[in-house]
Amino acid sequence: MSGFLVKKLLSALTIVVGVTFITFCLFHIVGGDPALHYAGKNASPEVVQSLRHELGLDKPVVTQYFIFLSQAFTWDWGTSWSNHRQVTQLLNDHIGASLTLTLPAYTLSVVLAVLISLAAALRKDTFVDRGLLHLCFILMSISFVVYVVFAQKIFAFDLNWFPVYGWDTSWIYRWSYILLPCFIYSLAHLPPKVLLFRAALLQELEKDYVRTAQAKGLSTYTIYSIHILKNASLPIVTLVMSQLPTLITGSVLLEAYFGIPGLGGLLLNSIQSSDLPVIKALTVVGSLFYIVVQLAHDLIAAFLDRRWELT
């Protein structure tokens, strides 16, 4: 176990260094000159140069990279170049809104996907199964923006079931603003999960132990809910956990259309305005979250399947 943890720690370090390096290089290739952007449209060359100094952009590139690395380890990202607030404060302010949207929405989509895929697998090759498959393919071919635009127009505007736009600091009112975006997110993320979960369940269905259980006279409900679902849970958990890191950055489109002050909008703004401190912090947060989720996945997988080795 300790060997596993040491190995994971080393792998985490490699990932963080790799991510910081790629982010840094990409920013210097496509990020433009932030000093020109932030000096203002009428700034003189002297002011641009002075700002370059203030932002630390006149330091050698290698030094700038090591400052970035040290920030990742000390968790001091300095102030945003765009809105001049402490980056850690910005993350704190926005991460809650992102997770308020994505966590329940993702959970809902996983629960629904398991139920629907079970229903499809139980009725394999029937009208219901084929209908669900076709519906999934149709839903997957629709762009996410179409879901957002139509759902907002129909459910919030035409039917008046939800507010069109807004947010509230109060949790009681916030739910009213979150419900529709949550449903949209769940629905749009449902079809690929259903297909994958169904495939995993059907794979298990072909195995000998299912035939044995059927021969022993166990009910279909018991076979599916206890045996098949348990054995198929490993690929399901793998898929679910592989998507977890994306939850933290929220959903740029949903945030923009519904007024949710999450990290997605913050990330988009920071890219558009060359706000390197925020970009750096968000990429490192994303990679750390990925590392933690991978670790959790390995532990859960070992619990679910004893053949899984923690090496």
Partner: protein, 583 residues
């Protein structure tokens, strides 16, 4: 099983019930508005974009602002008592300040009571703007203009050191000494960067000051949820201004002078949503949940037909305003490029550009063709001013190109046209321009860039051809001409590196002239010269269509007047009855 359904039903009801509540909260004296970009900061020295400026202007005030109803725009005192007394050499400005202005009540002041605004507050605010540690995007507003300020900045920006050009003669009299005469300086003092902030609040909030706001303005910031919405409430002690006594003749007819002389503001509460997408803006407006809308291109057709409000919308109590945008769009031609340096090639390109087609096709007739840099509404603009290169004439364009030594475009390289990839309109216009030049035999390659890349190429003079627009910082033609002054070449605002000795001389002369007929005439001469030289292909001057519900009273939109909310009123009965008819 039935009990499970009951639990499900009650849970769902409990979740959906609150969705009705926000709409019930709309029957009060509250204005609902929006901005179409996220607000970066409410700190005046960082409120450099249009929308942050608008929000900061509800809370903060400067020494001057533009009169709400007068057109052409006219500077009038806000925190200042009168317009400045300017010395004969044009260098010393003496400004008496109003003596009864208090900052908002706030815990940063002793006993939480807002203190009296004094001359030192303005000096402190300008020092903050100049302090390099604050990294203001707007330092250019005062750069090289005030005696001693730039030296103070480079020598460490110590706040306890005095600046020779910024003196408080007494608690309510300021003296500003300029480095050279500058007749645009008073207009600079209307800009957000020079708004007055109290040092107590800046120190109290430190790095978070940009998310709070403590000023002398008509509204207090109650709440800001960055990325979502801002809520302002009425400042009950507001005394800086009353409703204007004068306006244009049309204002009288439109009922804009009914409240003259009355205490401001009229509205108790203002909710401003940050809505970057066009659809929610449109839906909220049609539902009556925001009071006005500046429809984005895809939604303009729903309201406007050939520059008029659609007939059926009059019945829905909607009104249209079409103020000029005080801007110019243009295609920049980099004068450092060995081919684009050739005036005849630039003139040929200008002749190949069909502006009236652009106005109809890309702007829904909500713009007018630009023949020069000065937009309508600014002194020096003349709609009759034309040169032979202002019109669309492909035959003549081909002739010019042949005269330049490149008949049918032979011998010319493929030009690179830089566009920001996020702007759909810029992409469409670039495609159109490419097709137009193909008629001359000129090849153009479109390069899509991220916004930072695009900005970088333009500012560093690396773009041969690029699409750009300039919105006035202050309503003076000088603000447009400075974009062509050779000493402002890249990385300064002269992104095309235009270099014309005669133009430079005229520009320098114009800077020394006070507003008046002589300067206006000089601006005309300068514009003609630029129209002849074609450093840009002039595009259009845009209008800013604004649709409002009839319950929003006293509204007269002008981009240069960001502090307009204090003049507005809501006819609550009309809004309630409209809501009854359009639930």
């Amino acid at each position: 099983m039935s009990s499970l359904w009951l639990v499900f039903f009650f849970t769902l009801s409990a979740m959906l019930l609150p969705s009705c509540v926000p709409q019930q909260r709309r029957a009060d004296n509250t204005m609902y508005s929006y901005v179409r970009e996220h607000i970066h900061s409410l700190d005046p020295i960082h409120s450099h974009d249009l929308f942050s400026h608008q929000m900061a202007a509800q809370v903060y005030e400067g020494l001057y602002h533009f009169a709400y109803l007068k057109r052409p725009l006219e500077v009038e005192p806000l925190l200042a008592e009168t317009l400045p007394q300017i010395s004969a050499d044009g260098l010393t400005y003496t400004i008496p300040l109003k003596k009864n202005i208090y900052f908002h009540d706030h815990p940063s002041f002793p006993q939480g009571k807002g203190r009296l605004f004094v001359a030192d507050d303005f000096i402190y605010s300008l020092k903050r703007l100049a302090d390099p540690k604050n990294r203001s995007e707007s330092f250019w507003v005062i750069e090289n203009k005030i005696a001693g300020l730039d030296t103070w900045r480079t020598q460490g920006a110590h706040y306890d050191q005095n600046i020779s050009g910024l003196i408080a003669l007494d608690s309510h009299t300021l003296q500003i000494r300029l480095t050279k005469p500058n007749f645009q300086f008073v207009q600079s003092l209307t800009m957000a960067a020079t708004y007055v902030v109290p040092h107590e609040a800046v120190e109290y909030y430190a790095a978070e000051f940009g998310t709070r706001a403590v000023g002398t303005g008509a509204f207090l910031l109650q709440q800001w949820l960055p990325g979502s919405q801002l809520i302002f409430v009425k400042n009950p002690h507001y005394t800086s201004l009353t409703y204007p006594q004068e306006g244009t003749a049309k204002d009288e007819t439109l009922g804009l002078l009914k409240n003259k002389g009355q205490t401001l503001p009229f509205i108790d509460r203002v909710v401003v949503y940050e809505i970057p997408e066009a659809q929610p803006q449109y839906l909220l407006f049609v539902k009556g949940e925001i009071d006005l809308l500046m429809p984005q291109k895809d939604y303009q057709d729903a309201f406007i037909e050939h520059g008029q409000l659609r007939e059926k919308l009059h019945e829905q109590a909607l009104l249209l305003e079409l103020p000029p945008g005080l801007d110019v769009t243009y295609i920049g031609l980099n004068n450092d490029n060995p081919f684009l340096k050739n005036k005849k090639i630039r003139q040929a390109f200008s002749l190949a550009f069909d502006r009236p087609f652009i106005v109809g096709q890309y702007y829904n007739y909500l713009a007018q063709p630009a023949h020069g840099p000065i937009p309508p509404g600014i002194d020096g603009y003349d709609s009759q001013r034309h040169t032979e290169f202002s019109s669309f004439d492909i035959t003549k364009a081909k002739k010019m190109l042949a005269e330049a030594g490149y008949p049918e475009g032979r011998g010319l390289p493929e030009f690179h046209y830089e566009i920001p990839s996020t702007h759909a309109n810029a992409r469409q216009l670039a495609e159109f321009f490419k097709q137009q030049l193909q008629q001359l035999g000129v090849r153009v390659r479109l390069n899509a860039n991220t916004w930072p890349q695009f900005n970088d190429k333009v500012k560093k003079g690396k773009a041969d051809i690029f699409d750009y627009a300039w919105n006035a910082d202050y309503p003076d033609a000088e603000n447009f001409f400075q974009l062509l002054y050779s000493k402002n070449r890249s990385p300064g605002p002269n992104a095309v590196s235009f270099n014309n000795k005669k133009f430079d001389e005229l520009y320098e002369k114009a800077l020394t002239l006070p507003p008046g007929p002589v300067r206006t005439q000089l601006y005309g001469t300068m514009e003609l010269l630029v129209m002849e030289e074609c450093p840009w292909i002039f595009g259009v001057h845009r209008l800013r269509p604004l649709i409002k519900h009839a319950w929003l009273l006293n509204h007269k939109y002008e981009i240069m007047i960001p502090d307009n909310i204090k003049y507005l009123r809501i006819d609550q009965n009309l809004r309630a009855s409209w809501k009854g008819l359009n639930p």
